[in-house]
């Protein structure tokens, strides 16, 4: 196999809580190349925290420790502030859940995309503008002129996510982290946004970390799936082998979701075990 794009070994993250230290991420180890990896978990599983740890975006009070945390040859554990700025946004990018909150409401869409470009590339206004339009077309926005001059509250949710994707991919990162990118969108729009992400990721041969609570969605979209529970990875499998998952938590999650086409009197209920936390 090629040298992995991202490699984590024994990542541990601890926070200072009101009642003592909270061990949010425990001994998490995995690696990935230029593929689509889905991280699935419920609230409190640590899926979002691990993505923030990779980007060095945890609060200063958080203690991050790892035997290895390497991205594309760079050791993420020892980066300084200015070195992080080289990595963040430029080589690793993140798309978040709700464009209403992740886009700056007082700047036009065009201005934000241009800013994203000019932060990481020395370019003139015309060049940045041209690139921005290219990106808007790449994310399949049909009237890029209107969207370029619009404010975030003037565009729909699906459009906003496309803009987010354009902004985050304009510096051509090697890795994209998508944190619940479709959870705030209507289900008929979800597929289109996922297509855009799929297209961009395969075209640029990027790695994708797709964080979600929706196991079914991740199994149809990603190549590999990691399932997290209370800060640990409890299962790792190929997406097409999900139905053969072994860990009781994964099987429990699969069993308790209602599905179209299946008629059950009662939904299965997850019986949480202490043992899963160890």
């Amino acid at each position: 196999m090629h040298k992995p794009l991202l490699s984590l070994r024994n990542l541990n993250v601890t926070f200072e809580g009101p009642r003592g230290p909270v061990h949010a991420i425990r001994d998490v180890s995995w690696s990935m190349g230029a593929e689509k990896v889905g991280i699935v978990g419920e609230s409190g599983s640590g899926k979002t925290i691990s993505s923030r740890a990779i980007l060095g975006l945890l609060p200063a009070s958080a203690q991050v420790a790892a035997d290895q945390m390497e991205f594309d040859g760079v050791d993420l554990r020892t980066l300084t502030g200015s070195q992080w700025r080289e990595v963040r946004g430029r080589r690793i990018s993140m798309v978040m859940q709700d464009p209403r909150y992740s886009l700056n409401p007082v700047m036009t869409v065009g201005a934000q995309i241009m800013e994203a470009y000019q932060t990481h590339h020395r370019a003139s206004r015309q060049e940045a503008r041209a690139r921005s339009f290219e990106m808007l077309e790449a994310v399949r926005i049909k009237d890029p002129e209107r969207v370029f001059g619009a404010y975030p509250h003037e565009i729909s949710g699906g459009m906003g996510q496309r803009v987010m994707i354009a902004m985050m991919l304009i510096p051509e990162p090697r890795l994209l982290i998508a944190d619940e990118p479709t959870s705030a969108l209507d289900v008929t729009v979800q597929n289109k946004i996922l297509e855009v992400i799929d297209d961009m990721v395969s075209r640029h041969r990027m790695g994708l970390i797709f964080i979600s609570h929706d196991l079914d969605l991740v199994s149809t979209f990603c190549d590999r799936i990691l399932i997290m529970y209370r800060g640990r990875i409890v299962e790792e499998c190929r997406a097409d082998r999900l139905h053969a998952a072994e860990h009781p938590y994964t099987r429990g999650l699969l069993a308790c979701a209602p599905r179209l086409g299946e008629r059950r009197e009662r939904l299965a209920v997850l019986d949480r075990q202490e043992a899963w936390e160890r």
Partner: protein, 255 residues
Amino acid sequence: MNNTDTMVDVANLDVRYGAFHAVQDVSFRVGRGESFGLVGESGSGKSTVLRAMMGLAPGDAARMEIGGVSIAHSRDKAFCRRVQMVFQDPYGSIHPRHPVDRILAEPLGIHKIPDAENRILRTLKDVGLGPAFRFRFPHQLSGGQRQRVAIARALITEPEVLLLDEPTSALDVSVQSEILNLLDGLRRERGLSYVMVSHNLAVVAHMCSRLAVMNRGRIVEEMTREDLNAGKAGEPYTRELIAASKGYRPVKAAA
């Protein structure tokens, strides 16, 4: 379905906010003990229909009856006893400063229902929370527990109809299955009638024997659970919705 057994009867409901026509000409019926689903995406008007039924939205209908009694113009205290609502956000639907005991005692106080102590304990048990939860505050409860308290509050006056506005959308999948089982069980035991709003087709297919699909304020199609599970949909929008609910399907890129 027997006409005398109709619990909820809505005909030609219209809701307008100024020039905006949020709900247009919506009609449906729900029988006693039945669960009816309203499915749609954001902006479809499904939640507005519930709010119009509760009097929280400016609705105008040819007929709006609960158990044969018209509610089109006024909603008195008796109505409040018979129809209750469970909201979507467990973190916003119970008062942050009141303990569970007070939250449950309040409806009893408003309707002057006696024997509060026993009713509170019994209702807590019915929703799967023991007496240990009685004096806790909402910030000491998880999302699922809060939703149980919200359901308990809705049930404590022994209503006949429950309006459920996306009751599990904000909950984890494993908590959702517990809450859905609870709601279903309560409906069977008490013969409640549900009108359930959701954007999640799978949840509605599990919970409701009949459902209506809404788009842009109108009912596009009404169907049964069996039809939905079999994928038998007449309207193109419904078909699109069903297909989209099945996860990601890559479309062969057209140039």
